[in-house]
Amino acid sequence: MQCRELEVFFEEEGLAPLSAAARQHLSECHACKHFFEDVTGIVALAHQLPAELDPPEHIWISIRNELVREGTIRGLSGDRVPWWQSFAELFRNRSLATAAVAMVMIMVAFLLGSQPRDQMRQGQQAQEDPYASTVTALRQQEHDLANMQLASTGENSAVDASLRQNLEQVNEFIADCERRVREEPSDELAREYLTNAYQQKAQLLSAMMDRGGSLN
């Protein structure tokens, strides 16, 4: 077997199993032997690369929202999934996060209750509007994002458009929940949805900031 014939063998049969003629040639030809060892090593290393990687969660959210908008996704009744219900389902898997936030809010309420009298007024204001600092932080983040996007030289992609649309929907949802909480302060479900919506908005803004940073 000559070098060229060995090449044809590798092209047609791969690296294993080797024929007797191929083995014979490899024992005699250093260059072909090096080639075989190098390529075998490359393939072995390639096998170690992960065949699966975790995509960012916002991709599924974007796909789902687009399919809902098109009417490709339907509820069990055959009707389109209502906008409110799609957000409720988004939060379905966040029960642990919700419980953690609820625990933090209980602790905050406890700490406020044990503060000295002279801090009670501030504490009272915080209790009346426990979301004030969250709203301020999100507003600042959105402002920073808007500035980043104004300065951006990168192309707008389908994912960016979807993220912006998601952000609009989350903002509308937050506005609905805030109105409901004002009207019915004792509505715990509305408070829970509002807390989760703030979390969702924070994650979206973070993803959008990351994309804006990488594109620039």
């Binding site: 070098c3 060229r4 060995l6 090449e7 590798f10 092209e11 047609e12 791969g14 030809c29 260059a31 072909c32 090096h34 080639f35 060892e37 190098d38 390529v39 090593g41 490359i42 393939v43 290393l45 390639a46 096998h47 170690q48 690369l49 992960p50 065949a51 699966e52 990687l53 975790d54 995509p55 960012p56 991709i59 599924w60 974007s62 796909i63 789902r64 687009e66 399919l67 809902v68 098109e70 490709t72 996704i73 339907r74 509820g75 069990l76 055959g78 999934v81 389902e89 992609s157 389908a158 994912v159 979807s162 994309r211 990488s214 594109l215």
Partner: protein, 203 residues
Amino acid sequence: MSEADAIRLAQAGDAAAFEFLYRLHGRRVYALCLRMVGNPSDAEDLMQEAFLQLFRKIGTFRGESAFSTWLHRMTVNVVLMRLRKKTLPVASLEETTEPDEETGGPRKDIGAPDLKLTGAVDRVNLERSIEKLPPGYRTVFVLHDVQGYEHNEIADIMGCSVGNSKSQLHKARTRLRDLLQEEVREQARNERQIAKTQTGQTG
């Protein structure tokens, strides 16, 4: 839920079925997109495009091929279309020879003296070199050697013959070897330069 049930329910528009199929196949699709384009931003765009196409056309899936093959075919088409728009010239899947850079004649890949790679290459080098492969070679190499598809599956995904898939894989591996050798030589040159500089400074 089984995949077959999820496909049937997704064809009827069921939201949970769509998500099931996404979760079942999304990680492989994302890995393929990322290795093909080399950056997360483009990979996310392509993944979204591929799944949207898939879900919009799911009503046409008849089970003649495996669902994952159908999905990967769509993904590869989406990726290659994007790469063809962005880069030129692109090695087509039907290209059978690669010109030698010095002589312009057919490249002599075997039997020529070269640098032994064993021990000098790590996963980072390999990932970087995979990104430098022409798209056709890159697709076959990633599908076969990274994701573990067989040639008959790759032929189905890429719309080529089994023989063509084997030929492209061999060329991809050979080209990768060349790229890695260049990288190893470059690293050795840099190290020699650094050593010279340090000797000059201390001498």
